[in-house]
């Protein structure tokens, strides 16, 4: 292993990257575009649910309930005319998500001290939004019900009823329950994976396709030096992407970093190294760019996006798929990222993830080096 030859390969690869401005721009724009999309535009939080209210009672009591819906930030009342048919049509056309029907005898029941009913009609096609919206609407009705009961007790000169139990919910790690706080840390894993998969997997296949590999072979460079030199160049690019993602995530979107900054850098470096080795391994084996690209899409981008727990919780998947996620390195990296960013935990909790990523990187590096030696020798 000679540092001079290593340096030469690193310089050559660096020049390749700098001379293809289109690909370089793409590499640096990926994190910016993804973070802007996820930070500004994409959220799973539910508020301003478009709601129609059909009030058959038209009493002070029903108007008081409607006022509650109007005052809540979770609902936007956009329609109060037209009845059932209009609600049905609105939901069919996806203009409405929720219909609230207050029946004719609503105030009558309340006045007699009986239980009145309110019908909530929900569009369940987006199950996630529907479950959250149903929860908000039910607790709003419950609060109204408790207030009516207390008012009735006061009117009779009695003490208000106290609920026997009071559920005190305390949320750890992400107090405001903002989806961007858990998506943006995981996004770093996806971004690093895209960079290493899209760029590295083509780097050696391209040398074969364009015939420059033969020229490289005629130089005294050794397979390990070639591998490490190429790795280093893309490693620098990947860490630059990581820095861009961090600056945007922490600075622009105010995602909290509760854990150690250096631990974060350590994990990113470890993961990036393994991912780059994987890209190079594919590239060495595949020989054609089309095949290399397809293989790296299926083996690195899709698992990082879908099976890492970055957005879709692993514990909800079928058992077999859960077992498959155990061999997805991005899964361990996402766990580490969310742990460092949100939970502020350190090595004492994350050592298993570090160990897996370390073994993975070592294994893939050895494989890539061996394949490279075979192909070249």
């Amino acid at each position: 292993m000679s540092l001079r030859r290593l340096g030469a390969i690193f310089r050559k690869e660096g020049l390749h990257i700098l001379r293809d401005p289109r690909s370089l721009a793409a590499a640096l724009l990926v994190p910016v575009v993804m973070l802007l999309l996820f930070g500004y535009a994409l959220t799973l939080d539910v508020d301003r649910v478009p709601t129609a209210i059909h009030d058959l009672d038209r009493s002070p009591a029903s108007r008081a309930l409607i006022e509650r819906f109007r005052g809540s930030r979770y609902f936007t009342v956009i329609q109060q005319e037209g009845g059932y048919a209009a609600i049905e049509e609105g939901i069919d056309r996806s203009r409405l998500l929720l219909g609230v029907v207050i029946p004719e005898n609503f105030s009558e029941h309340l006045a007699r001290g009986e239980e009145a009913r309110v019908q909530l009609l929900l569009d369940g096609s987006d199950s996630n939004t529907a479950a959250l919206a149903a929860g908000y609407a039910e607790s709003l009705v419950l609060a109204y019900s408790a207030d009516r009961r207390d008012a009735a007790l006061r009117a009779r000169g009695m003490k208000e009823l106290e609920m026997p139990l009071d559920a005190r919910v305390r949320v750890l790690y992400n107090h405001e329950l903002k989806s961007k706080n858990f998506i943006i840390p995981g996004l770093i894993a996806v971004i690093l994976m895209i960079i290493s998969a899209l760029l590295t997997s083509l780097t050696i296949a391209r040398e074969w396709e364009t015939g420059t590999m033969e020229q490289l072979l005629s130089t005294p460079v050794r397979p390990a030096e070639l591998l490490l030199g190429k790795l280093m160049a893309y490693f620098v690019l990947g860490m630059a992407d990581m820095a861009v993602a961090l600056v945007l995530g922490l600075g622009l979107f105010g995602v909290p970093l509760n854990g150690s900054f250096w631990l974060l850098v350590f994990f990113s470096a470890l993961f990036l190294f393994g991912a780059l080795c994987w890209g190079i391994l594919i590239s060495t084996v595949a020989r054609s760019q089309l095949l290399a690209f397809q293989a790296s899409m299926v083996s690195s981008f899709l698992p990082a996006f879908l099976l890492s727990g970055f957005m879709y919780a692993i514990e909800n998947m079928p058992l077999i798929v859960q077992q498959v996620t155990r061999i997805v390195p991005a899964r361990y990296f996402v766990t580490a990222l969310q742990g460092i960013f949100l939970k502020g935990v350190g090595m004492e909790v994350l050592w298993k993830e570090a160990l897996f990523l370390f073994i993975y990187a070592g294994l893939v590096f050895t494989l890539a080096a061996r394949k490279m030696r075979q192909k070249i020798a």
Partner: protein, 383 residues
């Protein structure tokens, strides 16, 4: 003219189906994606891992515990003693929620004083946390009502000459009815969306690559010396991939219906019509990419950067309604969004053309516009 188009179509189909690796690419990745997406993309929360920290150990606390262990949503996985241990369980992800009952809970309930039930949640995944909070509130609320009822029976019973009477108190009950997807399975929502993005990815990439490959390996020159005209070449290049697209559509729709048991409530004919209109867009975009790229790498990178934002801004996972308003306007020029709305409307709601005509119209308009402008560009490049 038709004869020359037919020749190109036959050549393309032969080229695509002759190579076993190409055949694999037409069928393998769409199936694989359908299966990974179908199983992995899921926002439901089932079987919450709950840690139960009971410092009271009374009959009342055991009663509440039974409520939780009897609920289909919760599984009690640990019984930590102190707060430190409970937090450690959350830190390591062994538990998603902890419920703590303080000493004196049972005695307090018996005296009719309000007692706290502490719920600690792992908020790292905010979406799961909000749903778990809802489940816990439901279980505690039901127990609450029962306790209240018992207390009311004791406290509020007055005596008259005719015997005991209960004081009548007003209340409101919400009756929730969920349409289209009553079990609230997110799979029913995501699987139809997956069909859309698979069709997009397959047809976009194949079209872009098929033209660029001819340029890269130099066979484009050979085609140019034949009497074929640019328009005919373009039609000949796109018709085979339209057929492939429709074939893949049928394939993944079958998987969705058979493997994932997603309901298809609307008309198959409207689905076919919408797919055909959408293919105009994706084939047009593929042609456009082939005119701007000179190597296969550029074409692949290009299709990736076209595909990803189009998917994210189509409402596939993230509801468009929640986006900031300028971004919502942006989504209205995204053809994928209209196709997504049509497919979901057909699968889940079973609505027909009478509801979906605006989306179909937009899809058709975008398709014609995109295909027409790329065709013009394509022709200029060839002349």
């Amino acid at each position: 003219m038709w004869e020359r188009i037919r020749q190109i179509v036959v050549k393309e189909l032969r080229q695509a189906l002759r190579d076993p690796r190409m055949r694999a690419i037409l069928i393998g990745p769409p199936l694989l994606q359908m299966i990974i997406f179908g199983y992995a993309v899921n926002l439901d929360v089932e079987q919450v891992r709950l840690a139960w920290s009971d410092l009271d150990r009374s009959a009342r606390s055991r009663e509440l515990r039974e409520r939780f262990s009897g609920s289909p949503y919760f599984t009690i996985v640990a019984e930590p003693e102190g707060e430190a241990e409970a937090v450690r369980l959350l830190d390591r992800g062994h538990a998603q929620a902890v419920i703590r009952l303080m000493p004196g809970f049972g005695a307090g309930v018996a005296r009719g004083e309000q007692q706290d039930v502490q719920v600690l949640l792992d908020g790292a995944n905010s979406n799961s946390a909000a749903i778990i909070a809802g489940y816990a509130a439901g279980v505690i609320g039901a127990y609450n009502r029962e306790l209240l009822h018992q207390q009311q029976m004791r406290k509020l019973v007055g005596r008259t000459r005719d015997g005991p009477v209960r004081l009548a108190l007003p209340g409101v009950r919400a009756e929730t009815r969920i349409w289209f997807n009553p079990e609230l399975k997110s799979r029913n929502y995501f699987v139809p969306g997956t069909i859309v993005n698979i069709i997009m990815l397959v047809t976009l990439m194949l079209t872009a690559l098929s033209v660029v490959r001819e340029k890269e390996i130099g066979t484009m020159e050979q085609i140019m010396v034949t009497p074929i005209r640019p328009l005919e070449l373009m039609l000949g290049k796109t018709i085979p991939f339209a057929l492939v697209g429709l074939f893949d559509m049928a394939l993944v729709t079958t998987v969705a219906l058979v493997v994932f048991r997603v309901p298809l409530r609307g008309s198959v004919l409207v689905l076919l019509l919408a797919s055909a209109l959408f293919l105009l867009t994706s084939l047009g975009a593929g042609l456009f990419l082939s005119t701007v790229s000179s190597t296969q790498q550029q074409a692949m990178l290009g299709s990736f950067f076209f595909f990803l934002p189009a998917l994210m801004l189509s409402g596939f996972t993230f509801p468009i309604r929640n986006m900031p308003e300028p971004v919502q306007w942006l989504t209205s020029i995204n053809p994928l969004r209209y196709f997504m709305e049509i497919v979901r409307g057909l699968f889940l709601k079973g609505v027909g053309i009478e509801v979906l005509w605006p989306q179909l119209l937009m899809l058709g308009a975008f398709g014609v516009l995109i295909l027409w402008s790329s065709a013009r560009r394509f022709r200029k490049r060839l002349d």
